[in-house]
């Protein structure tokens, strides 16, 4: 505790605040531009930070990371383009809200949820780092498989009322995720001999395709067929901010999503996109108005944004306490720590306690700065709704193309994105929900790798899923959710 006050003094030095703010602005821009991803932004900025003092350099990277995770929601809500994979869940309801003339409200919910989720995550990092890390280490292949299965049951939750099409979409998502190199033995699968397919489909091409490009196709079709009906209609007003009733609706959702996100962030290999979708599913399950999900639910935006930002602080738990990077960004941050002579791991807390304290303060300060910068930028962002669709969507398509090309330097990924655009358009026309497709796609590899690794370790015995308590609990919960969904579904059909 005696370390906190000097740490506050250090973090509050103008240089640190300035680089942190620069990092946040860069992050928000990168996050909001489709295709440009946050790991790439952090990797490119890493050499720059070598020339800064350790705290300033790391504070800048933290700013990019947090700003980027939030920034994805801005374009997801305003133009149906999730700037980052984690904002895919935000686009599901956020864009519907914009179409209904509630852009301003949706953006506020996203900002305040991001802040709340991020802040709770930072506090968890500061207060419970060691116990959470010990819990996260217990998550092995068997637990990953069971967690994945539990999360997959959310496809059922999200498909209520449209069960068959939802399950088809979910299964198709899992199928898409198997294309490319087999994650375990490196053999190519379903690539039809194309070298370009050996890397598999990129999640960013998939989400930009099924959201932005599909929307552009729908709009083009509507215009060409003079069916200026419901498709692509947008009210070009931003609407009002959040009312007290909106707060009462969203705050519990934010607070519930944050701990789930904290846990997911602490487990290496899961990440913010998974947290966003899982929290979206959970929120629908507990909502009083589940039918609004996908059609403009504030709760959906709150759950997704609180959930994905709640990962930002806790991904540092395994990094700082054990020296284990949980995802690409923390792997890059590990490099940044090492360059400055700070070796993450249990020893860091004793040898560099003053630095750890300053890092904690920097995490908190960056959350507050993000709220301030995001709030200042809000009136600017909402101007996007005033651009008419026929001007906006050509720009959006061009942005998506350049963004995806800039991050992958591959024409093939552009065709893939356009292909997914057609897929998304087709799904929309024939009433297939998009969320199950995305959930299947991100969870497929986790379930597959977990199952295969577990069975190799157990030498083919299924006992491993019963004898390990966390795995067993998750599988039982999964069965419970499935049964519950089945009961609700059959009741719904009868009535």
């Amino acid at each position: 505790m005696e370390l906190i006050f000097p740490a506050i003094g250090e973090v509050m030095q103008p240089i640190n605040l300035v680089v942190m703010a620069i990092g946040l602005v860069i992050g928000m821009a990168i996050g909001a531009i489709p295709g440009l991803n946050v790991p790439l932004a952090v990797a490119i900025s890493l050499p720059i930070t070598f020339h800064l003092a350790p705290l300033a350099g790391i504070a800048m990277l933290v700013g990019i990371y947090k700003g980027g995770t939030y920034g994805g929601s801005i374009s997801a809500i305003l133009i149906n383009v999730p700037g980052t994979p984690a904002a895919g869940a935000t686009a599901l309801d956020g864009y519907a809200l914009t179409q209904q003339g509630h852009a301003s409200k949706a953006l506020r919910v996203a900002l305040y949820s991001s802040f709340t989720g991020g802040l709770i995550s930072d506090l968890s990092l500061i207060m419970f780092a060691i116990p959470v890390a010990m819990l996260a280490l217990k998550i092995g292949p068997a637990e990953n498989f069971a967690l994945g299965i539990l999360a997959l049951t959310l496809i059922g939750v999200l498909s209520e009322g449209n069960m068959v099409k939802g399950l088809i979409a979910g299964a198709f998502g899992i199928l898409l995720s198997t294309v490319g190199l087999d994650p375990l033995n490196g053999e190519t699968r379903l690539t039809f001999g194309l070298l370009d397919l050996s890397g598999g489909f990129q999640f960013i091409s998939l989400i930009i395709g099924v959201f932005a490009i599909a929307e552009a196709f729908a709009l083009a079709h509507a215009t060409a067929g003079r069916l200026v009906a419901s498709v692509g209609q947008r009210i070009s007003a931003a609407g009002k901010g959040m009312s007290a009733a909106d707060w009462r609706l969203c705050l519990p959702v934010m607070l519930r999503a944050a701990p789930v996100g904290v846990f997911i962030g602490a487990v290496p290999g899961l990440g913010s996109a998974i947290s966003a979708f899982i929290n979206y599913g959970i929120a629908r399950n507990f909502s009083r108005e589940p039918e609004k999900f996908g059609k403009g639910s504030l709760e959906g935006v709150a759950a997704a944004e609180s959930g994905n930002n709640a990962v930002c602080g806790s991904t540092f738990i395994p990094l700082l306490t054990l020296g284990i990077p949980g995802d690409t960004i923390t792997a890059i941050m590990l490099g940044a720590f090492m360059v400055h002579g700070l070796i993450p791991g249990p020893a860091l807390f004793t040898t560099n306690a003053d630095f750890v304290a300053a890092f904690f303060v920097a995490m908190l300060v960056s959350s507050i700065l993000m709220l301030a910068i995001g709030r200042l930028g809000l009136p600017l962002f909402v101007q996007a709704v005033r651009i008419p669709n026929k001007v906006l969507f050509p720009i959006v398509v061009a942005l998506c193309m350049t963004g995806v090309y800039a991050s992958s330097s591959s024409y093939f990924d552009l065709y893939v994105m356009l292909g997914f655009g057609l897929l998304g358009y087709g799904m929309k026309r024939f009433g297939f929900p998009v969320a199950p497709l995305l959930i299947g796609f991100i969870l497929g590899p986790i379930v597959e790798v977990g199952l295969r690794q577990s069975l190799i370790i157990s030498r083919g015995s299924l006992e491993i899923f019963v004898t390990r308590p966390i795995a067993l609990i998750c599988l039982l919960l999964a069965a419970l959710v499935a049964a519950w969904v089945a009961i609700r579904q059959s009741k719904g059909v009868k009535s």
Partner: protein
């Protein structure tokens, strides 16, 4: 008047051609920005080394260096892109033993190791077989225990990468049976050992060094010709009587057919950067270490390692 305008337009149109003729000459090299292709994801060891080299070399060359990640197919996508680019020295491959040698062993990817000329090796890493510190105290203990319990103990590694090859080579040489649990990357294997889900992990020394220092993990054997000064207590496989050696390397290469003077210029600049103490210090702080080899010596590794690991992977 009309003729003057025509001549003027003609001259303007010819201008790009003239500059093109100039850029083609090696004396003018580099006349435009250079691209470094990294066939591995942003933020990994190769990417960081590539970016540091790019930054340092761009100062010497007087042109910006753009680092581009072309990821996929075990590094094949980026390597093939560097091979297919114009052979004019403006596309340089940041290459590793993985994409350069091991990926072509696995199947036809459209290039062979010898399709490239080495500019120089920047680093070579030590591989170590590590375990949780409350398990075996030495490689001898592991071997005795594994002989008594064939197939009981697991090691986590990405299939067919160098750490996998040395670990399975070690098991074969020591006549023990270890169960391979395929991993999706190096870091998950280390996490698996720390979490008690795996018994052993073969990894680069720098990625487990902090766990060795903190006492969470123990190194049993390294796969070098001689002991690594950074882990002086860990014996080499050779000392234990097993001839298993493998070092993953990283360096720069250009496609064969690049003009000789351009290759020479790149080699000179890289040599200068690699010997610059400030550059060496920056790389070392990022957790890697500089092990410079000049162009010809590095090029010689391509076919040597191809033959060596082709034999080992069969």
């Amino acid at each position: 008047m009309k003729t003057t305008r025509r001549i003027l337009i003609g001259a303007l149109l010819a201008l790009p051609l003239a500059t093109h003729a100039f850029t083609a000459s090696a004396q003018q090299y580099p006349a435009k920005p250079i691209t470094f292709i990294v066939p591995w994801p942003a933020g990994g060891t190769t990417d960081i080394i590539g970016r540091l080299l790019g930054e340092a070399m761009s100062k010497e060359l007087g042109q910006p260096v753009a680092v581009v990640n072309r990821v996929g197919g075990g590094g094949a996508v980026g390597t093939k892109a560097a091979f297919d680019a114009p052979k004019d020295g403006y596309t340089v491959l940041v290459t590793t033993s993985g994409n350069h040698v091991l990926t072509p062993i696995k199947g036809n990817v459209g290039y062979q190791p010898d399709d490239f000329i080495g500019i120089g090796q920047i680093s070579s890493r030590t591989l170590i077989l590590a375990t949780k510190s409350d398990r075996w105290k030495s490689a001898r203990e592991l071997i005795a225990d594994a002989k008594a319990n064939p197939g009981k103990f697991t090691f986590g590694a990405v299939p067919n990468v160098l750490p996998f090859l040395v670990a399975s080579g070690f098991a074969r040489a020591a006549e023990i049976k270890l169960t391979h649990v395929p991993q999706t990357g190096g870091a998950p294997g280390v996490t698996g050992v720390l979490g008690g889900h795996l018994d052993l992990v073969p990894e680069s020394l720098e990625s487990v060094q902090q766990h060795l220092k903190s006492g969470a993990m123990r190194g049993l054997v390294v796969f070098n010709e001689a002991r690594d000064p950074a882990a002086p207590d860990v014996p080499t496989a050779k000392e234990l009587g097993f001839d298993v050696v493998g070092n993953p390397w990283t360096g720069l290469a250009v496609a064969k057919g690049t003009p000789e003077p351009i290759v020479a210029r790149l080699r000179d600049v890289m040599a200068k950067v690699a010997k610059d103490p400030a550059f060496v210090a920056t790389v070392e702080r990022s957790g890697a270490s500089v092990e410079y080899l000049d162009g010809p010596a590095f090029t010689a590794l391509f076919s040597r390692d191809f033959e060596k690991f082709k034999a080992a992977s069969q």
